[in-house]
Symmetry: C2
Subunit: 237 residues, 2 copies
Amino acid sequence: MKGEKKTQDDVVYEHIFDAILEQRLAPGTKLNEESLGDIFGVSRTIIRRALARLGYEQVVVLRPNRGAVVASPSLDEARQIVFARRVVEKAVTELVCENADANQIEQLKQMVRDEQACFDRGDLGAGIRLSGEFHLLLAEIAKNPPLLSFQRSLVSLSSLIIAQFEKGTAKSHCSYDEHFELIDAFAKRDKEKAVALMMHHLDHIEEKLNLGDEAEENDLKAIFSNVMSRKQSAPQA
Amino acid sequence: MKGEKKTQDDVVYEHIFDAILEQRLAPGTKLNEESLGDIFGVSRTIIRRALARLGYEQVVVLRPNRGAVVASPSLDEARQIVFARRVVEKAVTELVCENADANQIEQLKQMVRDEQACFDRGDLGAGIRLSGEFHLLLAEIAKNPPLLSFQRSLVSLSSLIIAQFEKGTAKSHCSYDEHFELIDAFAKRDKEKAVALMMHHLDHIEEKLNLGDEAEENDLKAIFSNVMSRKQSAPQA
DNA sequence: GGCTCATTTTTTGTACACATTTACGTCTAC
DNA sequence: GTAGACGTAAATGTGTACAAAAAATGAGCC
């Protein structure tokens, strides 16, 4: 549909972003400018721009003079992000109920079908991404560019959170059943139901936060604290 | 209070931003990288970063290969921005009612007194800026970083809109009386009243949109549309 | 043996130079 | 006289070199 030519920063941006979502880059990972430049075959200039953008969206943290690392939201920060999403998604949901035409409803359905296919075939990374894009498409249909831009940032962060907190959890993510239900409500222009479904949908994300614990391999000290206290145990077999 | 050292981009960013708010840079103005570099005594690298940031906040529009211009929101875009603010400000207002302590209430009052002083002495630019910072401080007190970041972008855009649409209007901007009333409601933790006041406050911005007309020297086509249809009328006197 | 401090190395920040694209004025053909 | 093509000038996009800062390393000291 859209045939705009992607600039180099966009390509790098998306690659890094996808890598973060698909957990190939764990939260806390240092993002070295020169290494990335070598990998993508571009100069640091391009990498720098991509990182700045990711930084603006808070998906990576930019520390002056100390480089960029993949963000690792704390439990508290994660809750705040979900809260912000509640605020935005409520407004978006109402707007979608008002605005969505048949064509867009079909577009939404197709996207969720794709999402379902990804999860079925076990491609978690692509699944999480499509799940996020569903919510972005909603914001697009809402036809409010500022909200869309904010939603983009929040969805990125949500995906990061899901990736970070959903390590062991078997239950699927933004479950596509709920997306289908939402689409039904949109088609019927049933605002109340749609909003209720959406809030419920976000409840599920929040529930996961309380289950999975956040301490990850970033915090080396925490992970090896037990080792430290038993230094003189059997070193190897 | 906060003694962090500002980087060069920050300084440039703020200068350009202020210039836009204070109408020293009119909407539609082309922002030439080299000229700006000369003015601020830095290389294009720094200018470029500042412009990228302004572009991300949508305060300037970045056209690939064609440079940056100061944004000039259409009437429709302005309405969408105000709508987004309603969404965010409602949530922020409720959070402020829940969270604000006596110290913060005093901080808010002081800020509005400063704002009042600016308008009284006729310094419109500083007044508009402080008025915006009041709303930013609210988002800070709400203690939700994602909402704060979105609010920052929206407040910037609102200021731009006010500057653009409030050309002739005598009535003052974000009137500080309303800010004082809001603070009262916060202090009493009266959510309903505070939200009502805030919505009313935003109504005032929206009203101005309908009064002042937007067509500026940017949209040449609109301006000369009448001329086109009467090509062979009397040319000059 | 552990700690501090100086040196080295790595990494980020900035300026600058070159490549590419775009805008504009001119020239030519019809 | 107008429309189109071409060439030139200017501005943006990108790579690279150098400067400054931080991190890592190792020597010296307690």
